[in-house]
């Protein structure tokens, strides 16, 4: 029986240790210095780049930033649950529909006019309630051992052509895919977009439910599949991870202004409920300033900075060389039309 007691003591000792530890961590958490200001950032963007941005921001302004990172869908749901009591000051996310969703529920505060002027007006909300920070572009990724660039479709519509049956991989639940759907619907109407989606589904099956673009690009690189539809930076991140010699894939852009050639915007918004409005405005202004945009360009997020006069990562084709269609963030909205179409095509 002595050993039984030993077990109980182990349990009790562990419990006390854990309790003490939690006690400590909660107390250090709440007593974070009164001298300097601290804001809370809900972050759904590339975490390492966000950390680099924050370090520079704190150095410049003395304002500390606490970060909560999660997927943009969950953070948006969490912000809606929190409502007016949200501890968040700023929300920085990958795709604009989430910001549009929060804006629709009147949870965002207007961005300072001077800050809005740091980026092209078309890349921010027309209400001025959130601001564009960086851009990504939709491209085809293909396995360069299996296909030649000259064989590839130049229009997104051709992807539904039966000749690509079994050669395509699709991640329809990935929000990066929605702007493409919206863009096709805007260019050709809902009926044609739906037929196109059904064609994509039949070409991609059984690989029409890939969970994310990381998997698409990695599968194409391994040769599991011939090609996939992604945002450009997934390719560059994979290349950075495994090194150029291990890369057997390449990117192909659609024809200029093709509905599949979409420039998608990543942005930030300030919560109306924030009690640190001034500091939050400073943070958002920093993200879109030359200093912030330069950090974005040099990190390994491989997105395009959209602020004036900041060159992109030299690995990427220059921003000026891109010829996307005229589809803007305002056209995308909350992505509802894309959602409906994807569900009708049984892709969601």
């Amino acid at each position: 029986m002595r050993n039984t007691n030993l077990a109980l003591r182990c349990l009790a000792a562990g419990a006390v240790a854990a309790l003490v530890a939690t006690g400590c961590s909660t107390s250090t958490g709440s007593g974070s210095g009164s001298g300097s200001q601290t804001i809370t950032l809900y972050n759904a963007q590339h975490e390492q780049t966000t950390d680099a941005l924050i370090t520079a921001f704190t150095q410049q302004t003395g304002i500390k930033v606490k970060v909560r990172s999660d997927g943009e869908d969950v953070l948006t749901a969490q912000l809606q649950q929190e409502g007016s009591k949200s501890p968040a000051d700023v929300f920085y996310t990958e795709n604009s529909p989430w910001l549009a969703q929060l804006d629709q529920k009147h949870l965002l505060a207007p961005i300072d006019a001077a800050t809005l002027q740091q980026v092209p007006a078309a890349d921010s909300a027309s209400t001025g309630d959130w601001i564009g920070v960086s851009a990504r572009v939709s491209v085809l990724v293909y396995n360069s051992d299996k296909l030649k660039a000259s064989q590839l479709p130049t229009s997104i519509l051709e992807l539904a052509d039966p000749q690509w049956k079994g050669k395509l991989e699709l991640a329809p639940a990935e929000t990066d895919f929605w702007p493409i759907v919206s863009s096709v619907a805007k260019a050709y109407g809902d009926a044609k977009a739906l037929t196109w989606l059904k064609g994509l589904r039949s070409n991609a099956a059984p690989n029409d439910t890939i969970p994310d673009n990381e998997t698409v690009v990695s599968d194409v690189n391994k040769g599991t599949n011939d090609m996939g539809l992604i945002n450009h930076y997934y390719f560059y991140r994979l290349q950075a991870e495994i090194g150029k010699p291990a890369v057997h894939a390449a990117l192909s852009f659609f024809a200029p202004h093709d509905p599949g050639y979409v420039l998608d915007i990543s942005g930030a918004g300030i919560l109306k409920s924030s009690k640190h409005q001034a500091a939050a405005q400073k943070f958002v202004a920093f993200l879109t300033s030359a200093a912030g945009q330069t950090i974005l360009a040099h990190g390994d997020s491989f997105e395009y900075p959209i602020g004036d006069h900041v060159a992109a990562n030299p690995e990427l084709p220059p921003f000026a060389s891109l010829v996307p269609n005229s589809f803007s963030v305002a056209d995308l909205g909350t992505g509802d039309d894309a959602k409906t179409l994807l569900q009708e095509a049984q892709l969601l």
């Binding site: 029986m1 990172s69 749901a77």
Partner: protein, 540 residues
């Protein structure tokens, strides 16, 4: 023992009455605990209502739902069967066979539970990208959930009275027949309890299925979640119904069969059978199991680290901090779960009634819901009614306890079933107060179950991701969230060390479980030899 109860004539009556009184109190405590555990369902209901009938109708009644239902049911049947066979066979090997390096095996066999599901999924998928669909999902889930059956069954085998088996054998029953007709009924509660938890885990599993492209209601909830939280909640309804169905089925089968002993309280450890020529095949089979369940994921992680071209391996300090946070939250969550499971287990075992069974069964339901749904409902409640708790470690600890409560309950219950209540009564009849009896007789008797429950919840909580991301204090990272942060940026090499630490961390409770049970075995043999019944309580 019988003589001691016979001489103290008024005592049994008093003890009985006292037990009644205590039992009533237990039911009330259990109801409060059950309501607390079920509270997340309220938000699911509210959300589903907010979504409206048309939306519910749209997401539930379409061709896709039928496929999801078929997928979910098929997978559950395959995995539960496979995990039950594997878990029971493994438990038999470690408990009833003279296995070389037995202690090591008892540790290794528990380890797969500490391999995060998304890591296992990625590992298999990266070996063969065509590794997808039902059988892929079934393989990954069988390998990661069989310990949920192995642990309670091993504990039951350890405590089961070998005397009954010996009697059956001496009466001429063959080895296989003895196993089926005598041993299986003895381990039945453990087997069924374990299977129940496996099914509920499958219902709420997400990470692994997403990777092997296998769609269930839970993966659909995550997809739907991207558009509309209310509609996602509507999709929880079939999950809850499936959970209810499984629980009803379990209580039907579970009622048959009772644990019996040749002599009350005189539990004896079965002599372990020599394997002889069977040693090599058994060892080979166990090694293969561990290689598939733990070797493949660890191998993949090491490969990631080796292949990665990035120089940014995480600093040791960040790993250390994340480890500490993980241990801290998981241990507390496990402790809370075990403490809450204790009254419910005692209530459910000491006397059976429909009401008691309902209370106990209801506590399993939340396990069928994905972690993120539970987490967001805790956000909902704490924002409205307990704002100071929001985004503190306490809320995360509560989430772990709620999410993994059934794991604790299964373990604790098995122990309580096997601890004869009579021993407590005898102690009461000898004049000890209820608190003393509880602390010195009941608690030591069920300690193995408490410890097993603690370890199991701890192991599972260290790999929890979706609820942790929502509820952890802002700025705090755990091993799982750090792994996710790097992995979701395709920085696999930087992600790998965090997963490796999770697995290494799990070796500690795994080893503790295995080693502690072994010590107990020797001490009990010693008590037996001195022919003093354990009923006397601990002698300090």
């Amino acid at each position: 023992m019988t003589s001691s109860t016979a001489t103290a004539t008024p005592a049994p009556l008093r003890a009985l009455r006292a037990r009644r009184g205590r039992a009533g109190w237990l039911v009330y405590v259990s109801i409060v605990i059950a309501l607390g555990l079920l509270s997340p369902l309220v938000l699911v209901g509210l959300d589903a209502r907010q979504a409206g009938w048309t939306e519910i109708h749209r997401v539930l009644f379409r061709a896709r739902s039928q496929r999801l239902l078929v997928n979910t049911v098929e997978l559950s049947v395959v995995v539960v069967t496979a995990a039950a066979v594997l878990g029971t066979a493994a438990a038999w090997c470690t408990e009833r066979c003279a296995l070389p390096l037995r202690r090591l095996w008892t540790v290794l066999l528990v380890l797969p539970i500490a391999v995060p599901d998304f890591v296992a999924g990625y590992a298999w998928h990266s070996i063969r990208p065509t590794f997808t669909g039902l059988w892929a999902a079934a393989l990954v889930m069988t390998l990661s959930t069989y310990p949920l059956i192995y642990l309670p069954v091993a504990a039951a085998l350890r405590r089961a009275d070998p005397g009954v088996d010996e009697v059956a054998r001496s009466l001429g029953l063959g080895r296989a027949a003895t196993f089926m007709r005598v041993t299986v009924p003895q381990i039945r509660p453990a087997l069924i309890g374990g299977s129940l938890v496996v099914v509920l885990t499958l219902l709420s599993e997400y990470g692994a299925f997403e990777i092997v492209h296998f769609q269930t209601f839970t993966t659909e909830i995550f997809t739907e979640f991207q558009f509309d939280q209310a509609a996602a909640s509507a999709l929880c309804v079939p999950l809850v119904l499936l959970g209810l169905l499984v629980l009803t089925g379990e209580s039907r089968i579970g009622r048959r069969g009772r644990v019996s002993r040749t002599a009350s309280a005189a539990a004896r450890i079965a002599r372990r059978r020599r394997l002889g020529y069977g040693t090599a095949p058994v060892l080979a089979a166990l090694s293969a199991l561990i290689a598939l369940a733990v070797g493949v994921p660890i191998g993949t992680l090491l490969y990631w680290m080796h292949r990665s071209q990035r120089s940014t391996l995480p600093a040791a300090a960040t790993v250390g901090k994340a480890t500490w946070a993980t241990v801290d939250y998981s241990a507390l969550g496990a402790l809370v779960a075990v403490v809450l499971a204790l009254p419910i287990a005692i209530m459910a075992v000491r006397r059976t009634s429909i009401a008691r069974r309902l209370i106990e069964r209801s506590t399993y339901l939340t396990q069928s819901l994905p972690g993120v749904v539970i987490a967001l409902s805790l956000v909902f409640f704490s924002i409205r009614y307990a704002y100071p708790l929001y985004q503190t470690s306490l809320l995360l600890v509560a989430a772990y306890a709620i999410l993994h409560f059934p794991l604790a309950l299964v373990c604790v219950k098995v122990s309580v079933v096997q601890a004869p209540p009579r021993l407590g009564d005898i102690a009461r009849s000898l004049g000890r107060g209820p608190a003393v009896v509880f602390a010195r007789v009941t608690l030591p008797l069920i300690a193995p179950g408490l410890l097993a429950g603690f370890c199991l919840v701890f192991l599972t909580a260290t790999t929890e991701l979706t609820a942790t991301l929502v509820l952890a204090p802002t700025g705090v990272h755990t091993l799982a969230t750090q792994f996710w942060a790097y992995q979701s940026e395709a920085a696999y090499g930087s992600a790998a060390p965090y997963a490796l630490v999770i697995i290494a961390l799990a070796a500690v409770p795994g080893a503790l479980l295995g080693l502690w049970f072994d010590r107990e075995r020797y001490s009990r043999l010693a008590t037996e030899q001195s022919s003093r019944p354990t009923a006397q309580g601990p002698t300090t």
